[in-house]
Each structure stands twice: as C-alpha cells, then as structure tokens.
C-alpha cells in the first residue's frame, strides 16, 4: 500500500521535475494565479507524509483568501494566533459563539485556543478519571496495567524526582498542582501537533495564566512558610541594611521575573516549533520548486515535527520542574545559600 502510494507520488513528481528543471531555483515575481496553481498541485501529493496538514494548509489558506496578495508571514501568523473562527479547512469553518455578557468590560467569547484548552481539559479529565477509577478498584497487592501504569510512572516521577527533591519538606501539598500543570501542558502541546489542532500553549495568555498559578502558589507558600517578617527578611537577601535600598527592589523584581520567564519560555518554545515547520514548508512555495519541496521542506519538516514531539514533553517537564524549584526556593527556611541558584534564573 505504502509502496504504491510512494510510486504514485514519484510518477506525479518526476515528469514535473524534468519539465520544470530550467527554472527550478528562479525566484520570479509571478502573479497570484501561478502561486495558487503550484500550491494546489502540491496538495494531492502531500497526504502520504507526516507533514501533510501543514503542507496542505497554506494551499487552502491561499485559496481561502481570494482577494489581495498573501504573504507566508500572514499564513503563519494566521495559524499561530488566536481566532474566533475555527478553521476545518477543506470542509469550511466553525464560527465560535460570541458571548454577549462582558463582565468587567472584558470580552470572554470563545476562541480557537479556548476550544483547545477545553479539549485538553476534557482529555485530561477522561484519562485522569479513568485512571483514578482503575486505581480505586485496585488493591495494594495488584500492579496497575496499561494507561494507569504510564500515568502512575509519570506521577511517581513528578512526585519524587520533581516535587520531593526540589521542595523537600511538605511537598505533598504541591503535588496535585504540579501533576495537573504537567499533564495540562503536555496535552496542550501534543494537541497542537495533531492535524486540525492548535497549540494553546503557543499563546502567551495561556502560558501567562499557568505561570500566574505558579506565582500565586509560590508567594502563598512563601508567606505560609516564613511569615510576613520572614518574607520581608527574605527580600533583603541577608545583606547589610545599607544595601537594602538596592537589594529589596532587585529581589522584588526577581519574584516577578520567575513567572515571566516561565511564560515566555513555554510560549516561545511552542510557537518557534510551529513557525519553523511552516517556514520550512514555505521555502518550497517561495522558491516555487518541487525539488526543494521533496529534498528540503518535507524531510526537514518531519524532523522538526519529531523534535517538537520531544520538546512537548521536555517543556512540560521544564515548566513543572521550575515551578517546583521556585516553590522550593520560596519555602526554604535555612539561610541564603540558595541565592546563587536563584540568581542564575533571573
């Protein structure tokens, strides 16, 4: 089956390559119709590959907006940015409901990324409740099976290697948050990698919200662990009183840069991967060449896609790890020897 598909693609591509050989790398300012033609010609060949939706998307985007010139940058931004229209490209689009109620003057209508957040929550709830139920029916003598085993291994990893080793004493309270944030980010990242999905974690508002949770929990834990006096003392970083006028603002800013760094890291990582995949695909359209498409765009896009799979796990882990680290730093009672580590993160 696969061999047949590949041979069909070859049969389609090789004569075109031969005939177009003369102006393969010629960058000419052709009119819109040629671009559309090239794009739509590439679309049937693409479904055999992993990057199929990405390859197909620009063609459809080009077809979608008939009026005016459209740049690759616009298509990329259209894909990455939030929207009130959920595109399901060949079949049309869903206009998401606008919510008329606007509490405090903010618009809380449903957008593409809200849908993805809800989808991630739904997946998380289904998996979590199923695993929880299977654990409840399990006696301590039995070992978990299948999905429950995977989830349990991840939870155990987060509990011992992330929470326990970074927070130390009293880590149990933070385990639910850390586990939820890990799985939430992981599922959001992975949903962005499947066709027709969008990366909610590639939106700075979502990552900002998650980082705000970490921030609030960190501050609350710090106040609870050290009290108001201890917290104030922490801000002076144990220096001489004459240095307080410098140290206190620095420490205060440090409190805010941590969640900010978390926000930007996750957002930029997830956005960058998608921009790179799109840019690689667009190289073929900008150069208007099948050779480039087959030799550069598709293989490199597949490579980046696989890298993105790894990054999806890595960034979920890093966010969780750093959250745990910040909580651990905030609740640390003993001394100020941890400021060297803290300083490295600023």
């Amino acid at each position: 089956m696969r061999v047949k598909a590949i041979s069909r693609i070859l049969a389609l591509v090789v004569p075109v390559l031969l005939s177009l050989n003369s102006h393969v790398f010629a960058v000419t300012s052709q009119d819109e119709a040629t671009v559309r033609e090239t794009a739509t010609a590439a679309a049937p060949a693409a479904p055999a590959t992993v990057a199929a939706p990405e390859a197909a998307a620009p063609a459809e985007a080009t077809a979608h907006e008939a009026e005016g010139e459209e740049k690759p940058g616009d298509v990329i931004m259209h894909h990455i940015l939030d929207n009130k229209i959920y595109p399901i490209e060949p079949f049309g689009e869903i206009h998401l409901p606008e919510i008329a109620v606007k509490p405090f003057g903010i618009d809380i209508s449903v957008t593409k990324h809200v849908v993805m957040v809800w989808l991630a929550c739904a997946v998380l709830l289904v998996v979590g409740l199923a695993v929880g139920a299977s654990f409840k029916s399990l006696s301590s003598k039995q070992s978990p099976k299948g999905m429950a085993n995977v989830i349990e291994a991840l939870i155990d990893f987060i509990r011992t290697d992330v929470a326990k080793s970074n927070i130390g004493h009293g880590y149990e309270k933070f385990v639910p948050f850390l586990v939820t944030v890990f799985f939430f980010i992981l599922i959001c990242n992975l949903l962005g990698l499947i066709p027709y999905g969008a990366t909610a974690t590639g939106n700075i508002n979502v990552t900002l919200t998650l980082a705000l949770f970490t921030f609030v929990i960190t501050q609350a834990a710090a106040f609870k662990a050290q009290g108001v006096v201890g917290y104030a003392k922490h801000l002076t970083a144990g220096t001489h009183w004459s240095l307080w006028i410098i140290m206190v603002p620095i420490e205060l800013i440090g409190q805010f840069t941590k969640p900010f760094a978390l926000t930007i890291r996750l957002f930029a990582n997830m956005t960058a991967g998608h921009i790179i995949i799109y840019s690689l695909i667009f190289i073929a359209f900008i150069l208007k060449s099948y050779v480039v498409a087959m030799a550069v765009s598709v293989p490199f896009a597949i490579f980046i896609y696989l890298l993105e799979l790894f990054v999806a796990f890595l960034q979920a882990f890093v966010f969780t790890m750093l959250s745990a680290l910040f909580i651990g730093l905030a609740t640390a009672h003993e001394g100020h020897d941890d400021h060297a580590v803290e300083g490295a993160h600023h």
Binding site: D74, D107, G128
Partner: protein, 175 residues
C-alpha cells in the same frame, strides 16, 4: 509586508486576551480540583501505600535476617560448647586411662619385683639348706671313709681307691 505588520499589531503574538486568560484559569482550576480529588488523590495515596508496604517488607526482611543471624550465632555457640565438652570428656578419659595404666604397670612391676625377690630368697635358702645337707653328708662320708680306711689295711693304693669311690659316690648322690 505592511499587512502582516498590521496583523501583528492587531492580533499580535504578545497581545493580551483577557477572555482567554479567564477561560484558561477557570478550566484549569476546575480540572485541577476535580482531578486532585478523584485521580491524583487515589494514585498518590496508592503510591504512598505501596512505598510503605515496600518499606515494611524491607524492614521485615531485615529483622528476619537479624533474627536468623542471632539464631545462627547461638547455634554456633552451642556447637562450640558441645565441642569443648566433648574435648574435655575425651581428654579426661584419656587422662584417666593413662593414670590407670601407669598405676597398673607400676603395681605389676612391684609385684614382679616382689616375686623375684621372694624367689631369690627361696633360692638362697634352698642353696643354704643344700649346702648344709652336703656338708653333713660330706662329713658323714669323711667319717665313713675314715672308718673304712682305718678298718682296711692302710696301703696307699687302697686308700686312694677308697677316696675315689667316695668321691664318685658323693658325686652320684649329689646328682
């Protein structure tokens, strides 16, 4: 390029969207509350339970090992004691046997000595008696010889024959 710039500014990468923040916060909170009650709670408690179970199993194994070691130690001690006891018994038996043997040997030797001494005494007595008897006999013989000599003629030849006779007789009687 202008259009994309406008897109960036209008719905840019870094644009705040309060609605999305609101929905994300609400959804995340709800999911976290539900899951920490129904999923993470049971799983974590199960993990803790299992950890405790493993710890107690390890503890039990350790205590069993300790117990076994003490028993082994005790057994070894008992065995050593029994060995010593046996050694002692054997040694004592040997000593006793040695003593008995030496005693017996000594006694036997003494007995033998005594017997030899008694035998010597007897021999001495017998010899003395024999000598006495011999002396008496010789005296008798000498008296008889002297009688005969005196009775018969006192020639030299006859005297000599008589004496020879007497000696022969004596020798025969002595044998």
């Amino acid at each position: 390029m202008l259009t994309s710039g406008i897109i960036l500014l209008e719905g840019g990468l870094l644009n705040p969207n309060p609605g999305l923040i609101f929905w994300t916060a609400i959804s995340f909170l709800i999911v976290m509350l539900i899951l920490s009650k129904f999923a993470w709670g049971p799983i974590v408690s199960m993990l803790e339970e299992r950890e405790k179970g493993i710890q107690s199993a390890i503890d039990r194994a350790h205590s069993a090992k300790d117990e076994a070691e003490t028993i082994l130690k005790k057994n070894k001690e008992l065995l050593a004691k029994a060995d010593a006891e046996a050694d002692r018994i054997v040694r004592e038996g040997k000593e006793y046997a040695d003593k008995v043997r030496s005693e017996l040997t000594e006694k036997a030797q003494q007995e033998a000595q005594k017997m030899i001494a008694a035998a010597k005494d007897e021999i001495e007595q017998e010899k003395r008696r024999a000598l006495d008897v011999l002396r008496n006999e010789v005296a008798d013989m000498a008296v008889k010889g002297a009688e005969k000599i005196i009775r018969t003629a006192l020639d030299a030849e006859k005297q000599k024959a008589v004496v020879d006779d007497m000696i022969k007789e004596l020798a025969a009687s002595r044998n």
